[in-house]
């Protein structure tokens, strides 16, 4: 059954490339085909998710080759949920109204294929390839309307992404040089046998390079300068996708790398510091944002920094906090960007706008409150778990981390509250509807998802803890992916690799 996991990537990938010729033959079918593929992909993902939730994570090798030669997928709760959520998000933000010759549906499918690949792949090579697929899809999406300003934005994104990809590739090369493999499980085994391998300057440099490289998409400092510009210029759907979905994908790669290879090497500290700087700069910059879109862009940076901090704790509470905050952000940010499309006037001109559409505005408030972490919304549980994670982490100086988290949260609360009080100010201006007609449905569904998450927190909490435990479970990951014959004792191939790596030679 789990062999079908390959379809999660193949289905959207093939569809993405056949959609254009199909459109030539039959535009009506082409219009329906894209969403149909996503729906079937989501259904398959949910089936597999239920399977995994029952039987635990599984590894899937393809074509009868096993590690270290073959490539494999690792299906766990977090990865599979991300696949399903990616499909659902793309479906919610699907470009229903674009002209029939637009490339957007294909790019959506490409993005989905890349997202599934990132969520499931178990080796660095595939992760990098799928990451590039996602990156290409995102340039295309930003540039799709073909207007000058959006082309400019897409070129900015392209420049940063290209620089980031180069750095990440350099990092991956370094890791290959050190560990002699690109399979995460295999590298993990190497790291487990030689604890100093990845804590060397070379190893940590590799992590730093990958962190900065993937940090372009994960909106981490110092690679996130494109964020305010691109989110401010591109269409709300695309901003929502980049902030909500793509950033989480980049983060997931980092996390797999961190926990399979870099446990206890000090890489956590690098992620922590990066996260803290990102958090501080993002939230501070959002404090004086003049437009809602800009505020959301900077707050998105801050949130991603917070996620990095949560994940860098490396304990179950911290990881569960990161997962919950990521889910919260994935549900909320796209919807907020849709709101920001109509409310694009300077914030000072938005006085009293909330009164014209009470229900839509109430949903907006609910989402903002969850971002702020007000109980009993999911954001609160995220913050609670995060504090728990930080305060259980054995690292020194956690008091400062807590203080910084609290300070930035307070800053976030202040600017969001200023926004809300202005939206609810009593002023008679001509009302701007908060949402365009076609944006109502996705926002309502995302809001319903948020409410469902709030009400179902009891159930979700157990799965979150399981998911966090699976992410942190190194030996289980290795045992599932590496065939028993290769596990013990260490085979010659491997010792040879390590030997050459030590001497600085190339394997």
């Amino acid at each position: 059954m789990t062999q079908q996991a390959i379809l999660l990537v193949l289905l959207p990938l093939i569809a993405a490339f056949t959609l254009t010729p199909l459109r030539r033959c039959n535009p009506v079918i082409a219009r329906v085909a894209g969403p149909a593929v996503v729906v079937s992909q989501v259904m398959l993902a949910i089936t597999l998710l239920l399977h995994i939730a029952q039987l635990g994570p599984e590894a899937v090798g393809f074509g009868g080759f096993s590690i270290p030669l073959g490539i494999a997928f690792h299906l766990d709760l977090v990865g599979m949920s991300l696949v399903a959520l990616a499909g659902v998000t793309l479906l919610l933000l699907w470009p229903w109204t674009v002209e029939s010759d637009s490339a957007e549906p294909s790019l959506y499918l490409l993005l989905l294929a890349g997202a599934s690949g990132i969520a499931l792949s178990a080796d660095l090579f595939n992760l990098y390839v799928f990451f590039e697929v996602v990156a290409v899809a995102s340039y295309g999406l930003v540039a799709a309307p073909n207007s000058g300003i959006q082309l400019y934005a897409s070129i900015r994104l392209l420049l940063f992404s290209a620089a980031g990809s180069a750095l990440a590739l350099l990092g991956i090369g370094l890791i290959y040089n050190l560990g002699g493999s690109l399979s995460l499980a295999h590298l993990g085994q190497v790291a487990a046998q030689d604890a100093t391998l990845f804590s060397s300057v070379e190893g940590l440099s590799a992590f730093t390079l990958i962190l900065i490289g993937l940090g372009v998409k994960a909106e981490l400092f110092p690679a996130n300068h494109w964020v305010p510009e691109v989110y401010g210029l591109s269409r709300p759907r695309v901003s929502g996708l980049l902030a909500g979905l793509v950033s989480k994908l980049a983060l997931l790669i980092l996390l797999r790398l961190l926990w399979q290879l870099y446990t206890g090497t000090g890489a956590e500290v690098i992620l922590l510091v990066t996260g803290l700087v990102t958090l501080l700069l993002g939230e501070l910059a959002a404090f004086r944002a003049t437009r809602l879109r800009e505020m959301l862009a900077f707050s998105s940076i801050g949130q991603l920094g917070l996620l990095a901090v949560a994940f860098s704790m490396g304990n179950e509470a911290g990881v569960a906090a990161g997962l919950l905050l990521a889910l919260n952000h994935l549900l909320i940010k796209p919807a907020l960007f849709l709101y920001a499309h109509n409310w694009r006037a300077p914030i000072t001109a938005l006085g009293g706008q909330a009164w014209s559409t009470p229900l839509a505005s109430a949903l907006f408030v609910l989402m903002v409150l969850s971002l702020m972490g007000i109980p009993p919304l999911p954001g609160f549980w995220g913050k609670y778990l995060l504090l728990k994670g930080v305060l259980t982490a054995p690292t020194l100086g956690m008091g400062w981390v807590v203080a910084l988290i609290l300070f930035t949260t307070l800053v976030e609360m202040i600017y969001f509250m200023r926004l809300l009080t202005r939206l609810y100010a009593e002023k008679s201006v001509q009302p701007i509807p908060p949402l365009s007609r076609r944006h109502y449905a996705p926002v309502a569904l995302l809001g319903a998802g948020l409410i469902a998450l709030t009400l179902g927190m009891g159930h979700v909490s157990t799965h979150l803890e399981q998911g966090a435990a699976q992410l942190l479970d190194r030996s289980g990951y290795r045992d599932r992916l590496i065939p028993a014959s290769l596990r013990h004792p260490v085979n010659h191939f491997q010792t040879h690799l390590q030997g050459t790596a030590r001497q600085g030679g190339h394997p």
Binding site: L159, G266, A286, R288, W381, L387
Partner: protein, 620 residues
């Protein structure tokens, strides 16, 4: 389903009438009726919560390995009762006439009901998470109620919310620390559980809890928000908030300090390099709370702000009493919560009645209303006697208990501080009543009459309770008993009119008889003295010249000029400057951070990479 469940459902249902019937008075009337039912339900809960019992609600859910539920004990019950009665009076007052001048009466009613519900959820918390949920709800509901009138009240409410949210973050951190050090979040299991924490962790938890709950109590240095937030709220809402809202902070503080940590541990927790232990530090914080806002109140020219500043100071009295740990201090601290509510509500309501009729609360633009609004005068008079803590009102009883408790606990300096606070109170409440009701009537207020009976009735009722419970303090102490029992604190023995202490009892009937005798004696002197004649309150006469009513002889502006010349230099608003300064600092930091993002994009990527790698080379 037990009475506590019913109470929660009823509190939820109380939101409905004014939402469903936004126009007309039926919504307000139904809301008032619902509060009456809530009070009745609370009294029906009294047998089950007295002697340390508690009632669990069926509302509960599970998340992250915890069961989160609600359970009301005597301590929460005591505060809940005051909440319900305050809401009842405020709602009756609003429905009785005040809302005729208000364009958002239904919003006011529903928001007040939301506040009451939030407070029940806080007061009935069974664990730290439900406590936090209730706490946040109280903050948000309070914010909405304060912001209801719009305009300047929104700014004041926003300031409150920012303080409250900062406090809540500190509280959440404390909750996580408590959970980690003791392994549980159930309040019952946490009784005394924090007594064995190591010193350092204890101080951290204490500081966080103090910030968290102290913000709501508006303890210095977190006191700046409260007066404008309460004062600029709608009149009935101000009465409700002033009576009970900030006591939620006291509730939380006692829960942690008295119930979880325990006063013995506080005494044992010495602050390094000083003479202070945690208990005396808290007592002194309470004393500062009692003095500083009181003297700020003295300088106010808005009657509502003056009252709101006093509300902060009285919170200091309560905390001071409760920190003593002896029977008189406990009884005084808790009784003062009830007594304060019972005179602060009528004070706000009387001032609101004056605003209702004259349109202003500016103490420089009022005067001489005693003949025009006699019932408002009587209410205010009873209220300020209570606020100043003079016999025969109930405020005297609770303050007497606290003074005596201080002397019993051998804390004479704190006793002096309390007396200084009381002195300031007396001075400033005299300013209040003088500038509104005494002296020369202003020409524009010639036609003013008392507020309608629908408003006057409720405020007289509660002021009457403040008078009667002053004469018969046993009434109040009877309600305090379950609270003290739930906290595990001692209570003095008492009967209906007297409190027995080992070295001297207080019998209020004797005090009141002596007082009435003295007043009677004064009246006799007055009646037998030389002839007196009546003048019009508009009349004005000075130095042989007859002046018109437009020339004011009433001395109201800069009322205590002499005193302020002495204490003024100590009252520089440096904290306000600090608050504004942090705002500016945040603005600056934000501008800097934005500047970083709008310039030099790619250069930062390269620079960051190089610096990161160099740092690795140095560190590893």
């Amino acid at each position: 389903m037990n009475a506590f469940d019913l109470l929660l459902y009823l509190a939820l249902a109380t939101l409905l009438p004014s939402l469903l019937a936004p126009k007309g008075r039926s919504g307000g009337m139904l809301t008032t009726l619902a509060y009456l039912l809530q009070v009745w339900l609370l009294f029906s809960l009294l047998p089950s919560v007295s002697q340390g019992g508690s009632v669990a609600a069926c509302l509960e859910f599970a998340a992250f390995g915890h069961t989160i539920g609600w359970q009301l004990n005597g301590f929460g019950w005591f505060f809940a009762l005051i909440t319900a009665v305050s809401a009842l009076i405020a709602s009756a007052y609003a429905t009785g006439g005040w809302e005729r001048q208000c364009d958002h009466a239904s919003r006011l009613h529903s928001l007040m009901a939301l506040n009451v519900l939030a407070m029940y959820l806080l007061l009935g918390a069974a664990d730290l998470i439900s406590l936090f949920i209730g706490w946040e709800l109280v903050s948000w509901a309070g914010f909405l109620l304060m912001a209801a009138p719009g305009g300047q009240s929104v700014q004041a409410a926003l300031r409150y919310l920012i303080y409250a949210l900062a406090g809540a973050l500190a509280l959440l951190t404390a909750i996580v620390l408590i959970e980690q050090s003791s392994g549980t979040i159930q309040l019952d299991a946490l009784r005394g559980a924090l007594a064995s924490l190591p010193d350092g962790l204890s101080w951290v938890v204490l500081a966080l809890v103090f910030v968290g709950f102290g913000v709501k109590l508006a303890m210095p240095p977190f006191h700046l928000w409260q007066a404008p937030a309460y004062g600029y709220a709608d009149g009935p809402a101000a009465a409700f908030l002033g009576a009970i809202s900030s006591r939620m902070g006291l509730f939380g503080l006692c829960l942690v300090l008295v119930q979880m940590v325990g006063l013995e541990r506080l005494v044992g927790l010495a602050l390094p390099f000083s003479f202070f232990d945690a208990q005396s530090l808290l007592a002194w914080a309470a004393a500062i709370t009692l003095i500083v806002p009181t003297y700020i109140a003295l300088t106010q020219n808005d009657a509502r702000l003056l009252l709101a500043w006093h509300g902060i100071g009285q919170g200091g009295f309560m905390l001071l009493g409760l920190m003593l740990g002896n029977d008189l201090g406990t009884a005084g601290g808790l009784l003062h919560v009830l007594n304060h509510a019972s005179y602060q509500a009528p004070l706000f309501l009387a001032v609101t009645a004056v605003v209702y009729r004259t349109g202003t609360a500016d103490l420089d633009r009022l005067g001489g209303l005693i003949a025009r609004m006699p019932w408002a005068y009587v209410t205010l008079l009873l209220g300020i006697i209570g606020l100043a803590g003079l016999p025969p009102m109930n405020g005297f009883v609770s303050k007497w208990l606290i003074y005596k408790g201080l002397l019993d606990a051998q804390m004479p300096l704190l006793f002096v501080a309390a007396v200084i606070g009381t002195l300031g109170t007396i001075l400033s409440v005299y300013k209040l009543i003088h500038n509104i009701f005494l002296g020369q009537l202003r020409a524009e207020h010639r036609e003013v009459t008392d507020a309608p009976w629908g408003m006057t009735g409720p405020m007289l009722l509660i002021a009457g309770f403040a008078f009667i419970s002053g004469m018969l303090p046993g009434l109040g102490l009877y309600l305090v008993e379950p609270a003290a029992a739930a906290l595990g604190l001692p209570m003095p023995s008492f009967d209906l009119s007297a409190i027995h202490a080992p070295n001297g009892a207080l019998d209020m009937l004797v005090v009141v008889s002596a007082l009435i005798g003295a007043i009677g004696f004064g009246a006799l002197l007055f009646l037998n003295a030389g002839r007196s004649y009546r003048t019009q309150p508009l009349d004005n006469y000075a130095g042989g010249h007859f002046l018109t009513a437009q020339t004011r002889y009433q001395y109201s502006h800069h009322f205590y000029a002499g005193l302020l010349r002495v204490i003024g230099p100590w009252m520089r608003p440096w904290l306000v400057a600090l608050e504004q300064g942090s705002g500016h600092f945040l603005d600056l930091a934000s501008a800097a951070s934005r500047g970083l993002y709008y310039h030099n994009g790619l250069r930062f990527l390269v620079f960051g990479t190089v610096v990161g790698l160099l740092w690795l080379l140095i560190v590893v």
